[in-house]
Symmetry: D2
Subunit: 281 residues, 4 copies
């Protein structure tokens, strides 16, 4: 898509050849972990209201993106520190919440893991294009998956044959195939399953570093795979009002995170959230 | 200690100021995770006998160090890829094995997490000094903790007062205090608890990327904290013989990892393992 | 000064310890150099009207700053390429123009050299603050030098004693000293020697990569040290009009570079040059 | 060639997109330059006997390679500092010595310039392979040029036609062509012009940062292009003896640099110079 240029901002980080690579993992604030009776919210640095680093999160497929404040000095902006700690905490939360969000699914049989990287963007334009790029990817995946499972479940094809049939087809051809072969009007379908088509965006003016897993799903057997991100939503389930935000700042109120499956490519989403770009948010 | 110079090989990785930090986490080989019936060993790339990346591991306190082959091309030596995936897999394994290794301990109440970094060393000398540096740290910690808990458990001091008493004391002063006040001969004590004093080193000619957690302990209430690394040991529990190594290479035998609590500062440990420095190991 | 924070954008670039450093210098577009009869403007890539990389330059003391277009893809933005080539070309021009600008000065007795570095700034605010920082430095240097030479030439002090006298004095103390001891009103003095106080800014809508040396001077024996940057000025010696810029773009006119010794801390200079921030300039 | 793998040690250094690039050049030890009566050797930091950074240099075509001591802490190993200063000093020396080495050649009409980069190599093997790679390049260039000028000067071809004829030909084909068409036995020719075939290596146990230009030539009109590197040779013109080296260390003797056009791919050159790899050389 036209947004894919944001990928060009990624810089290579290949390590010098011919040298030993020594990787040290160090427990993060480890004594806290061991004092098991302490409450996470009391102990964990990320949760301090005046220490908001992540201002937006977006999940689709098996990937999750987190936008940090431009002026964050988290870990003095040390790349490996941020990358590894966020990735590790995410992994950790993902596992510990697995049963809560997938109670009917098989328990985890072996340890899942994630890769992580940081890319820097100098301006709002590139940040918005980044999220557009990822949501466009969700659209593409969802259309593909819809067509794929129609071929398999309704068309009786093997998964291999279904992939073969779809290889190289344009978006319009998939729409056409869904309609002519299976009488599915894709455009009428998607509003009913926005999480699949749009992914999930988490916004609370602030997003605390997620004990709960921002997990979205746009794949296969839908009913059996709930969306873990829902747990991040506050009682009212909606975008935190400026008033509420104020309370958070003064510590009177804990954070509410809204989970949305809306379009984030158009202007509307962003026009409603000018606070995202306020430096001292 | 005299080994601490290896720290100077760490290079800063602070990120450019005034730019947005965008962190993307991506599920690693995710379809494998979802096909829960598949066995990890069949699915997971790290486990291939001809694809050995990590050749030595050392754990002490809440930290674990992994030495990669000099010529490894794992993830094309991309720093963020290696750092984040190893850190994430380690985190994941740590949680999933928690109950196995700490059956009598309180279950995890909130997600633990780890930071990770890569440091490059150009030669064997620096690699050895690195491990000496970390084992020296284990010695220092163990002596401190022994003195600390003596003051608390036997001397009746509060933890605060115990820290106060020990602040700034030299190694010899701690030995002296243990002996005169509590009749403890520290040097006679440590051989009986090598894991505390020396940490744990895992070596199998190859170390597969640890489903099991290399966890060592040199702190407090010892009896209640078993050493998870033991699970990595094969049936015979000893260092893999060259013959066995050959079998691994030809795929006839699965990997055995030896867990040792021996000295790694002197030459003996290394003289016994010339295979560590063989490029095509 | 309050602008000095821009320094924090500099990132460390220390090289890994314990490795050999191999530096290769390669003649740039070398065949061109050897075909001595060819005119530089015909041969040199930088001079192409549609290939404007540097949009502003500022010189003071022995330092020169060059601002590149945000979107420049010069040498694919490879840091070492840009740094070394610009630094080398600058050095080269500096020497070859030495006699032209300093005809009465001793010829160069040994090779001068410059260091160079690149710092990235994500926004206009930081860029302006960078230039303010450097001009403030020129102010500070000029006041110091004025006081220093007054003490030496009029006060009969040795250079050592003059430095001693000035060490640690505030700006106001230097003003006061100049007035009370030497009857010099510093503020009345500076408008007559703007190059000393303000440095020199070179702007032409475009600044071709300077055959002529942007050399400014705010030191010592003024009359004997002319300002080489003057050679960069076109026949009319003034800021290039938008109309002229247009002609440059269409290739009808060669570039004129204006040399100014004006204030660049206030808004006026920048308000007159909106074209600096136009991406496709 | 089989040595070209050393190129893979180069790491990319592309700068973040969408950010302004600010390049500052700063006169290096500038007051020294201005005190024109001072002698370079007295003033210049590189020349101190106990401050030897570069231990070997090799030049061929328009490129020059400098090997630094593994343990050098020159400019605290800051990449941009080293790259730019060495490149700038080299450029500077190149121009100022132009007339001395090319007295009959046209004076420089416009400023030459060089790019520079640093590549790190962790071991001696890679360092040797690096130099082998560059000398192999000299061989290839010389054979090409010999064939090229034979076609032009003896075969009456235009330069364009000569390039056309040679495009894609193997080494053996060029040998054959030289022999059959022009009766030139290339292998008999090269010993008489070693500088062309082998390039020039400068070694003195130490190589001071070259006021004199290590310039080699393996191109065209030979007689008119002398080899500037000769000026680096001491009175005796040979490799500095260990005894002499000792004197240099104690400051009793100034440095002599030997210029050689010998083979550096085989072992002999290196076996004679064990001091290159002695850390405290
Ligand atoms: N009770 C107990 N404490 C341990 C054990 N292993 C490590 N610790 C504690 C001792 C230290 O306070 C701490 C490790 O020191 P660190 O320098 O890594 O500090 P911490 O993890 O708190 O902060 P960090 O995020 O790494 O900067 O964990 C254990 O097995 N039992
Ligand atoms: N069945 C199912 N599959 C999913 C779901 N979410 C993601 N996936 C699958 C679809 C894709 O095959 C895969 C994600 O694509 P990736 O490009 O991230 O590939 P993968 O994770 O295999 O490899 P990687 O280690 O990221 O290079 O995970 C889900 O909720 N259900
Ligand atoms: N006539 C003549 N040509 C030479 C001499 N030394 C080098 N050259 C030429 C041969 C090649 O065309 C060129 C060096 O090749 P490069 O790959 O460095 O190309 P060039 O410097 O043009 O471009 P670059 O900026 O380095 O990418 O210089 C010499 O002594 N005499
Ligand atoms: N006499 C005289 N001195 C000047 C002139 N321009 C600059 N300078 C002197 C003033 C300072 O001592 C020096 C510039 O200060 P720097 O901080 O750049 O120091 P320097 O170049 O000595 O060392 P560096 O290699 O840059 O760390 O050059 C000039 O036009 N005339
Ligand atoms: O975390 P510390 O204090 O034990 O020491 P470190 O790991 O060297 O410091 P950092 O984690 O800040 O790199
Ligand atoms: O950087 P990589 O190799 O993980 O590549 P990617 O851009 O994440 O693409 P993919 O979806 O193939 O992992
Ligand atoms: O300049 P070239 O083409 O001889 O080859 P290179 O120096 O390896 O290429 P670059 O200068 O682009 O790094
Ligand atoms: O980066 P350095 O060491 O050159 O330091 P600087 O900021 O240029 O300061 P100085 O004027 O001392 O060179
Ligand atoms: Mg730490
Ligand atoms: Mg820790
Ligand atoms: Mg994915
Ligand atoms: Mg990926
Ligand atoms: Mg994935
Ligand atoms: Mg620790
Ligand atoms: Mg090149
Ligand atoms: Mg060249
Ligand atoms: Mg200066
Ligand atoms: Mg400086
Ligand atoms: Mg200077
Ligand atoms: Mg070249």
């Amino acid at each position: 898509s036209k947004f894919a240029y944001v990928r060009d901002f990624e810089l290579p980080d290949n390590l010098l050849l011919g040298t030993f690579i020594l990787l040290r993992i160090d427990g993060h604030s480890f004594p806290q972990i061991l004092i098991a009776s302490h409450r996470f919210t009391e102990n964990h640095g990320f949760a301090k209201p005046n220490d908001i680093h992540i201002i937006l999160a977006f999940g689709q497929s098996d990937e999750y993106s987190f936008l940090f404040r431009k002026t964050t000095m988290m870990y003095n902006r040390r790349e490996a520190k941020i990358t590894s700690i966020v990735c590790s905490l995410f992994t950790s939360s993902y596992i510990m919440k697995w049963h809560t969000y997938f109670p009917t699914t098989t328990p985890l049989r072996y340890p899942p893991c994630f890769d992580a990287r940081i890319v820097l963007y100098p301006g709002i334009r590139e940040v918005r294009d980044y999220f557009s790029w990822r949501q466009t990817d969700a659209h593409i995946n969802n259309l593909y998956n819809t067509a794929f499972w129609a071929l398999v479940n309704k068309g009786g094809k093997s998964t291999r044959a279904a992939h073969e049939t779809l290889r190289g087809t344009a978006s319009s051809q998939k729409h056409e195939m869904l309609y002519s072969q299976f009488n599915i009007n894709y455009n009428a379908l998607t509003p009913a399953q926005p999480v699949l088509s749009n992914g999930t965006v988490a916004d609370a003016g602030k997003v605390s570093l997620v004990q709960d897993v921002p997990r979205t799903n746009s794949y296969g057997s839908l009913s059996s795979v709930p969306v873990p991100l829902h747990s991040l939503v506050g009682p009212e389930g909606d975008v935190v009002s400026p008033k509420l935000r104020e309370k958070h700042k003064t510590g009177q109120e804990s954070t509410r995170i809204a989970l949305l499956h809306c379009d984030i490519i158009g202007d509307e989403f962003w026009d409603l959230r000018p606070y995202l770009w306020v430096e001292d948010c």
